[in-house]
Symmetry: D3
Subunit: 334 residues, 6 copies
């Protein structure tokens, strides 16, 4: 039996499907009998659920993060959809296709990688070219690079988000290298490709997006620097100055010390990479927030965005047209 996604649940109909149990609480009715209050979800969204009967057995050994198979039917409670669960059990490993449960970039990672490799072929400086080619041929690295999100939250926080963000930044830097000929195009493209590779070691993305121990203790800027510097040392006669300028771009791409960069940009390429990277993240965060947090009480506005510390405005539109009018930002040439 195939998976039914949260977004497709139809009110009043019976449901049999798998979900990620994101929240599990055993509560007590006034009568003293227990019931289960759950939040179930998958990559399309979340839904509240309750289970009234057979709770004791169903809840045994159940923990948050488990994938569960449920039967039930969809009703409404306090004007919100609510799933009343009649049967529930933990799924067996072979029943689980994990990426049904975490949000995923709408862009195909294989196509993105092909796009990245194509852009990387533009690089003419032989050491940089070899560095990029070699890394994009490392199987274990690629597996992580294609799956990782770009962040735990805020922007590109979806499976494949790191690759999507990287391709977008590389594409943007290519435009900027054409626009400002004083830029060292090869260095900028290489730095854009590598600037966030440390995130493959900083984050985990198995059942939730979170930081690894290394991520918390060292951070992706240092992890990326270590990863790249090791590859550089493996390439004979990699020019010392070129290596330093490349690593400087990675180190300084957050732009300011207080944003976690141990150096601030001192080269033109580092400066431009910082702007391109920051802009791409901000555009993605803006559009994502508009899609997920538009204010139902006030057309054209989002709810308050705590990260940016302001309300966002996406303009006056007809009631039905609004959110759809904003398409996903994608490099136009993809």
């Amino acid at each position: 039996m195939g998976k039914i996604f949260v977004v497709d649940l139809a009110e009043g109909e019976p449901v049999t499907s798998f979900f990620l149990a994101k929240q599990v609480q055993l509560r007590q009715r006034r009568s003293g009998e227990p019931y289960l209050s759950l939040i179930l979800g998958d990559r399309t969204g979340d839904i509240a659920a309750v289970m009234w009967e057979g709770v004791e057995e169903a809840s045994k050994g159940l923990v948050e993060g488990d994938i569960v198979k449920v039967q039930g039917y969809l009703g409404t409670y306090q004007r919100e959809r609510q799933l009343t669960v009649t049967r529930l059990r933990k799924a067996s490993p072979e029943e689980i296709a994990l990426d049904e449960y975490l949000p995923r970039s709408p862009q195909d990672p294989v196509a993105l990688l092909a796009r990245l490799r194509e852009m990387v072929e533009d690089v003419r400086e032989p050491h940089l070219k070899r560095l990029l080619r070699d890394l994009l041929a490392e199987e274990p690295f690629l597996n992580a690079f294609m799956a990782a999100p770009a962040a735990k939250s805020i922007h590109h926080a979806v499976l494949g988000g790191l690759l999507e963000h990287t391709v977008s930044v590389v594409g943007l830097c290519r435009l900027l290298a054409d626009y400002y000929p004083a830029l060292d195009r090869d260095l900028l493209l290489a730095a854009a490709t590598l600037h966030d590779v440390g995130k493959t070691r900083e984050l985990t993305w198995d059942r939730v997006f979170d930081y690894t121990d290394a991520g918390r203790l060292l951070g992706h800027i240092t992890l990326g620097t270590l990863l790249v510097e090791e590859r550089i040392r493996a390439i004979p006669e990699f020019p010392e100055d070129l290596a330093q300028r490349l690593l400087h771009c990675i180190l300084s791409h957050h732009g300011e010390l207080e944003w976690g960069s141990p150096r601030r940009p001192k080269t033109l390429e580092a400066l431009v990479l910082h702007y391109a990277e920051d802009l791409d993240g901000k555009v993605n965060a803006f559009l994502g927030f508009v899609q997920s947090h538009s204010d139902p009480q006030r057309p054209g506005w989002t709810e308050f965005n705590k990260t940016l510390d302001r309300y966002l405005y996406f303009g006056p539109r007809d009631a039905g047209e609004a959110p759809q009018g904003i398409s996903k930002p994608t490099p136009s040439s993809l």
Copy 2:
């Protein structure tokens, strides 16, 4: 007799030319006799000068900012070139071509304006189109817009710098509007064109670059808002919401309150304009500083840049090749 520029003065040769007297000091020799210590300049640079004889008459009524005609010969003092002046008088108005004395953008303002008008034709929203066309047809505005520097110092601080910067930002925004289709292209191009028009009222550029009283008291963000809002009101049925979104872009283009914007960007267009504008200014400032302040003691590095609070690095190069290797940033399609 034509003007000889500071950059062309040849050591050991007699000099007869006009210069801007940037600094004038009457000093006293130990013997008690007075002498004149001057800094003379034009748009190609500055030179120190001294005058030993006929000082009393020459200095009468002479003030900083005067254009003077001098005779003399070029020598060396403390390893720096120094002009010993034998005759000096104030120039008469008809002898002065002012733009020989202030630095000027290397780009032709007529070509830049043509370029800007061409890009503005891309705007399809009729009210915005009319607003831009009308403004770019106002003679007094255009005179100022084509002559003004973009700043007193820091970036694009040259005659014609405002137009050069504006064209560059519009060009960049055009690329970004193609790259991120969620952007309202018309709004972004209009905002990019108008974002700094207040500088035509904030700055003076007759003999030195400085702020007007209005510039100091109101600032170019408010002056530009007033200027644009007045034109908007003159256009029948200009949509209220569109006007607010356009003015919001102007108000917020510095990005943060502490950088002088009374609002922070709340729309995608305002956000992107801020990044484009800031990036273009920083690239220009970086390259200008590299050209004017490379550290002779340390190849590849500039002297300390107080605005950015760091040294800048433009890479390792051969002694002779360095500064030339960095070409002026220009929109590639110009």
Copy 3:
């Protein structure tokens, strides 16, 4: 039947009155039956309410912000008063006197306006005098100016609060102009009168206090500058320098860039206006917080004030005397 105010509800008695439905939640009893949980309010305060019967019909089409007519009786729940509602329907427009539902300044707007006009007559500089007289004769402006609150929250957040605050600041500036004779009295009085007029366009005050779109996108400082500059241009031969000094006062009245002023005070009048305006707002906020948030557990102290980031102390008093001891701040001469 007249309105009964929240503050006058007597425990145990039947209630029939109109209220603003500030919060509306349809909840489910354990039995599965729905009930309504409400917060009802008017300008004198809020009260929690529940409705157990006839819920389905009563809640149809009911949204927050509606004025409703309710019948019920007042009881206690968790030591707080609670209204049990037996009947509820939306009020018809002709039943509503809106200002019964929003808090209102205790001061009479007509008297305040008269007071303001009287103080404005002190201004002797003819252009400023005409500017003020003309504006205070504009009907649509006056309607808004007399009704608007001075803020969404924090200080003078009541109907009529803008006028109350303005009159208080003008009065204070009059004292300061007498105290420091170096001040340009006319300019200071004019600036004090006009400093917050942009709030008539920044805020809405129909059923809740909130920001308009223009308020969020442009802010009252810019809106006020635009409003005043338009009136200035309508006055023949208004001196340019005087206009700039007046607009400078409006622009800089928040004192610092990070508080939203695009300029910081550069004239003595702008400096003094900033202090007077800030002080008057702080005094009002202090007293309002003492009245609404005194800490019942700790006599003489308020609860924690998040805006000021501290507890406030209004001194040791007898249990009964405390809050009353603090009278509303009013210009003493009113």
Copy 4:
């Protein structure tokens, strides 16, 4: 022979008078012979001086801060007045009237003290009244309180400046206590009178204005708190709460921790005192800077003020009228 003040020195005439030697440098002519370069001054201003003959003897034992008797004549050097000294010797103690050498408040300290005592009589709370009366009757305290400047620089940096500032703040607070009746008038007047008394121990004002060791190590806020607390303890049954509220005003009068107050204002009186004190200092600093640093190149503007980090504008005036047009700020009722 009486003192001739710097401000009265007439060009071309012989001079015989006493001055404070503010700077003393023994320099060498190219010929190898020594000469003295001096800055001499008194409370009316400074003047540069040189001495060519008899230098060896004159400079023996001469240190900066000495009062010297000089003979010479006034000439011009680099467009500035310069005194050529022919004879110079240190003054004997009996020749020195110290207050001729340091700038002094234009207001009479005896009149100011009388005014302060009169205002203090308004205080009705008996403990506060006794505290103020007792302190203003302490001879050694009064001597310092009447002579001390209010600061080393910035504002009221003149002999008698502390008393002048104190009287002005008390006067201002009296107005504010009338304007905002919620204020505890007695507490506010007492706090205003005492807020800066620690400066009598923080500063020295014998030959230059500087900090004492205690001033540097403890600061005037703590020194004032200690001074006042000692007097409070000497008054029987001084109410504990009143004492705490008074000391709180002194501690918090700088308003923010980063400005040196260990507490921020938590009472209405402390809040108002902070504003009054800050405003009075700023007004005085503004006017003082306008008088001493108007920009000769730009009528209506001062030079750049580093403390306020901006240029100041005192408006457009006729060339001759400008500085005189700004009178000293004085409590209007004095």
Copy 5:
């Protein structure tokens, strides 16, 4: 009948004991009947409790902070232990041993005081020695000094915490005085002993840890300065300079103005005291947080620490070994 501590409550067993009622809420069942929801606690921890019967009588006059005697039995609700209360009454004063209800330092105050006196005997400068000896002999001071916590929360927030922290800082300073011989050992030890004595007047610790009025209005830095300065004045011929250096250490021990010190350290002893004091507090806060807030979901890590704005890591350990592996920080020589 003895007290049973929260930490010792056994599931399923009847309970009869005294607890501090930290939270008291009267709620209503759907049926309309009231019940009591409580949080009960003592120095070993907290436990949730409910009371279904006899609520009306039990809750009469009951307020948070009361010590109550309860009967009931321990069950589980939502996987947490919950006490169902069958009888409840307020305890009489003679039944209460207050220190059973507040957390207490594990170290014996008598031993700590003895240790402190011993270290103080090291001080050889006679005035400092007398100052310390005298103060440590004052009965009322000692009672407070031995009982007070070192803070309301954050670090050493336990009865006896102030003495524990003081002894630890003095011990640390003794090591540092040996390590850096340039330090004035006597001054440093005296300052370490006295740096936080103001907390005896800043805090209350009867039923909860909170600030006194004096604590909120004046703060422990000023209260400590006043306390010490009074003792200094009582000692004949206490050197002025020594007194200032000692008070300077107290005033500046928070290191920066924004952390509440009105002076920043200007002497070597003040500098070192600041580091020692801060380090000791941080180490204690770190270990306390690890013990109380280790993240059950993530071994080796704590939950998010808001004060430090980060997660803390105490390393990888076996499930059972973890928290116990971290012993309380104690001066090693105790």
Copy 6:
């Protein structure tokens, strides 16, 4: 002929010695003849010098940073010692013992290294022990580690300063590990030893102390992380978690992001290392500043210290005793 040091130059005597030419300026006498103005120095200090004859030949090819041999005699100019040079030539390489020209730590590097190795032997965890032993046996690393300064300026800015600072921090950490038993002693000692090893690549110390390109672009924190991580990878089965905790200490030892650490301390060892490292630097900077910048006008005080933004106080002492009274800070057990 041996070197005569600046500190030993005797007034009035002929001088023949080698110095570092720190500043070289060719100036012009009024007569038009050139002369040389120099600042000569060695590790004991600097002295001003002039050369009047034979200037043309002497100055040919002379640049700042050259070691020169001079003859001349010592006189006085403007109350400062001045060397009048009669002969001057550049030294040949074999005449130069470089460490005579740069300041050097008073401590013997061989003894310091022995001390460090001894302390390192305390480490018992085998992987850490091997890491430290191996690194301290690497010849090229050791050469740099023993010679490098700890900073370009501020603290330990002397040859051997890095090793001196490292030994001092390790010694301090050893004390702290004994004092706070919760600390992982082995990890802390290893981290203390390695925290600044990146400075061997960040700085140059041949003729002046300056940053390398790598130092400016990557910084010592990243350079040290790369250096240590490379050594860790060379050790078989180095525990991953231990490696991360060690690198975390290096990364976070500046404590805050804005001080250049890309992570803030999250482990107890990282926290303590930060305090120990910071304290040791501050103590050294304090004492160094007292020795070099005591204020001759104000006994007991230094001149204004810009780094710390304050004056420093080292107490009241007799005129002759003052500077000597402050001995160099040294680990007491050395």
